[in-house]
């Protein structure tokens, strides 16, 4: 490969695409040509670098300087100052959210410094469309090693020894699953990658597929060799067109390089991959529903056992793993089970990628060793809560999980500790909420989601979640009664015990966890008919402060319902019966005399 004196990495991840990174990339290509630097500087379009809210983001090597919010008009200056004269363009450097101050170096920014990248080792570092860049970073070495030096049993032993657990939510030991599939009787077997990523607020798998598709392809081929499959499928959700496109491109390149197809790397092993695109059903992330969908049917789950490892796709033994689980495999083969075990905790070795979003200063993707605390993630990597607001809760595990609160901030995070705290690891969505979020409303939100996505096959899920949702809606409208909390808890237990699949069984979790942690907030809605976070509109009242009101009458004229009245120069009043809570009066009052309580 050619050597350059500098590399400009321009993030081409989904976030940065939406803020205009293509134009930045084009401008770099033009400016570098205009300055005759084509032989010296290489421009690379990468997958998500991680700090999506600062996009378009670029990193310039060898120094590793991080520039944020780069516009096409900044490019000329970066080329002339940074690349030609070696001077930093300071106005584009990263600034610390709370304590202030600029940090030029990528690996000194808290958000990156505290990360340990295994699954994301290449994401944001290489051009995902160029297989040579993957190969240059030890890509396909693991596959070669396995095919020429390991028996399938030895591969499985390494994975078992590593202690890797499924990153799709349940945390099942990956090596065991591989072993079950290998040992299941049958000539024909399949390997399936679950890239349905349904948890709303999570985008780890998307980033891997878009930023480093070959790591998944390589891992699936290794898995095929280990379990004895010659065909694999990647099931990608329809909302990720770019991931599908990059993966398609990567599969073609892998075939052209002999990493997929007949007689891989000249051995007797053959394996090929096909992509299948989902069609907008959350329940298809559940493995048995996913397999039904792959077969071209309605994505309805079925009872387990039999598990897919013995009876999966078309009734054949099938190994199904999540994208991030697969992305770890080549690194484990290359660096060994012991190396992997040194990272993370005893029962949850390795790292976990979290999609950090919501009310936090640095949103984006972070990969951290298992065992870090929520405080480190939110307040160090994440830079804390914006606008000096107070941290209230963090939701993990999506619609199947629960919320973690102040008291959990210093708990080391792994599969077991999250369950003990009343939540779960889930796929890695981590949504931060501040004092302005109402936890009753959040519970209602999740239940509305699961109610919407219930496939309807079993009654506890279909009817039970509906009943729970009705109660929650009542509470947010101020029509709740104290016995509603017990009723919710009762219904929750029944659904958990009797629903057919994980969707239904876990649907009550967000409700239970918010009742447990924020009972007072529920009671405020029920007893006092108040929403302390001022979210539930039906419980809010517009009121005029008699001290601040100057009696100008503007609000009364603007109110569409004529709900405001008063005498000139005297304080005005709002007739609460007539008020429709449109908020016009607040906007119009020149003296800020109207507020929501």
């Amino acid at each position: 490969m050619k050597l350059y004196r500098a590399h400009v990495l321009v993030c081409g991840g989904a976030g940065c695409l939406s803020t205009g990174c293509k134009a930045v990339l084009d401008r770099f290509t033009d400016e570098i040509k205009a300055h005759n630097l084509e032989e010296e500087v290489h421009v690379v379009e990468t997958g998500c670098i991680g700090t999506c809210d600062l996009g378009p983001v670029i990193v310039i090597y060898p120094e590793g300087i991080f520039y944020k919010e780069v516009t096409p008009d900044d490019v000329k200056e970066i080329v002339e100052e940074h690349l030609l004269k070696g001077r930093l363009v300071t106005r584009l450097l990263y600034e610390r959210p709370v304590s202030g101050g600029q940090i030029p170096f990528y690996n000194e920014i808290d958000f990156f410094r505290k990360q340990k990248r295994i699954a994301l080792r290449n994401v944001g570092m290489i051009n995902p469309e160029v297989i040579e860049e993957y190969i240059a970073r030890d890509g396909y070495i693991a596959l070669g090693k396995v095919l020429t030096q390991y028996t399938p049993e030895q591969v499985i032993q390494v994975i078992k020894d590593s202690g890797l657990r499924g990153r799709g939510g349940a945390g099942f030991p990956t090596g065991l699953k591989w072993e079950f599939t290998m040992k299941a009787p049958g000539e024909e077997k399949y390997v399936v990658c679950n890239a349905d990523e349904g948890d709303p607020g999570a985008f780890m798998d998307r980033s891997v597929l878009e930023g480093d598709p070959h790591s998944v392809i390589e891992a699936m081929a290794i898995a095929g060799y280990a379990v004895g499959a010659s065909q694999g499928y990647v099931y990608v959700r329809a909302e990720y067109p770019l991931a599908v496109q990059r993966l398609e491109n990567a599969i073609e390149k892998a075939r052209a390089f002999g990493m997929l197809g007949k007689n891989i790397l000249g051995t007797a092993f053959s394996f090929d991959l096909e992509i299948r695109v989902g069609a907008g059903a959350f329940v298809c992330g559940e493995e048995t529903a996913l397999l039904a969908s792959l077969e071209g049917k309605r994505g309805e789950p079925r009872p387990k056992p039999p598990f897919p490892a013995s009876q999966g796709l078309w009734g054949k033994p099938t190994l199904i793993n999540n994208v991030e689980t697969f992305a770890n495999i080549p690194a484990i083969i290359n660096q060994g089970a012991d190396w992997f075990r040194q990272i993370g905790t005893k029962n949850s070795p390795g790292t976990k990628v979290f999609a950090l979003a919501g009310k936090v200063n640095n949103t984006g993707l972070v990969e951290v060793p298992m065992g870090v605390t929520l405080r480190e993630i939110i307040f160090e990597l994440g830079g804390g809560i914006p606008n000096h607001k107070r941290f209230k809760a963090a939701q993990t595990g999506g619609p199947s999980g629960g919320c973690l609160t102040e008291k959990d901030l210093d708990q080391p995070i792994d599969y077991e500790s999250l369950v003990a705290a009343g939540s779960m690891m889930g796929s890695g969505g981590l949504i931060v909420m501040d004092e302005d979020n109402c936890m009753v409303d959040v519970a209602r939100f999740f239940l509305e989601f699961t109610q919407d996505e219930s496939c309807g096959k079993c009654t506890p899920c279909r009817i039970g979640t509906k009943r729970m949702l009705e109660i929650l809606i009542r509470i947010t409208q101020g029509k709740g009664e104290e016995k509603d909390l017990e009723l919710l808890e009762e219904l929750a237990q029944t659904i958990k015990n009797t629903a057919l699949c994980g969707l239904g069984q876990s649907a009550p979790n967000p409700v239970l966890s918010t009742i447990q942690n924020f009972r007072d907030e529920y009671l405020a809605h029920i007893r006092d008919k108040k929403c302390p976070a001022k979210v539930c509109r039906a419980l809010l009242q517009y009121t005029i402060s008699s001290e601040l009101c100057r009696g100008c009458g503007i609000c009364a004229r603007e109110c569409p319902e004529k709900a405001i009245s008063g005498e000139p120069k005297e304080p005005y009043f709002i007739n609460q019966e007539a008020c429709i809570k449109c908020g016009v009066c607040i906007e119009k009052c020149p003296f800020d005399a109207i507020s929501l309580i």
Binding site: A14, D199, P200, R276, G278, G299, M433, F445
Partner: protein, 165 residues
């Protein structure tokens, strides 16, 4: 072949569909990929097209219908020139996505699930498009807009209204 009932689909569209069907004939699990392609070709999946797919792939129409109605991505109604999808995923929701939906409903004078009278826009909600770092987010076709506030909505819409004029 020529029982084109009510819609003005072109011969070419039918030919394209038949090509897709031929590609998946006899291959197990081909129904969903064929429906994806069919929706790309025709914009939606009316009964007529479902029948053609059923016959072409030799699966019962009831199964095709069952699949079309199960998955929210498939539509039996024609959609506007541009489909707007407002993300109501968790990250977007906690950052005020509900206000964005409201602003769009007001601006377009339609409710979620409806299409504007001029056929320009269909308003839908989606559950996470994977750009959560930029929440709240909406998509128009394959374009993604992030860090939205209600007052940015008219500006976003303008991009698409202009190109139509």
């Amino acid at each position: 072949m020529t029982e084109t009932c009510c819609r003005s689909f072109s011969e070419e569209q039918y030919r394209d569909l038949d090509k897709v069907i031929a590609q998946y004939q006899g291959k197990p699990g081909g129904l969903i990929p064929v429906l994806h392609q069919a929706q790309l070709i025709f914009g939606y999946l009316p009964k007529e097209i479902q029948i053609r797919v059923a016959e072409g792939l030799n699966v019962p129409l009831s199964e095709v219908y069952g699949v079309v109605t199960f998955y929210s991505f498939f539509s039996q109604q024609p959609r506007g020139k541009h489909t707007i999808g407002v993300c109501l995923g968790t990250a977007c929701y906690v950052k005020g996505a509900a206000d964005i939906v409201e602003a769009l409903e007001e601006e377009l004078e339609i409710k979620v699930g409806e299409t504007t009278a001029n056929g320009d826009f269909t308003l839908m909600v989606t559950r996470c498009v994977g750009a959560c770092g930029l929440a709240p987010v909406l998509t128009v076709g394959e374009d993604v807009y992030g860090r939205l506030t209600a007052d940015k909505i008219p500006e976003v819409l303008k991009h698409y209204q202009k190109t139509e004029a």
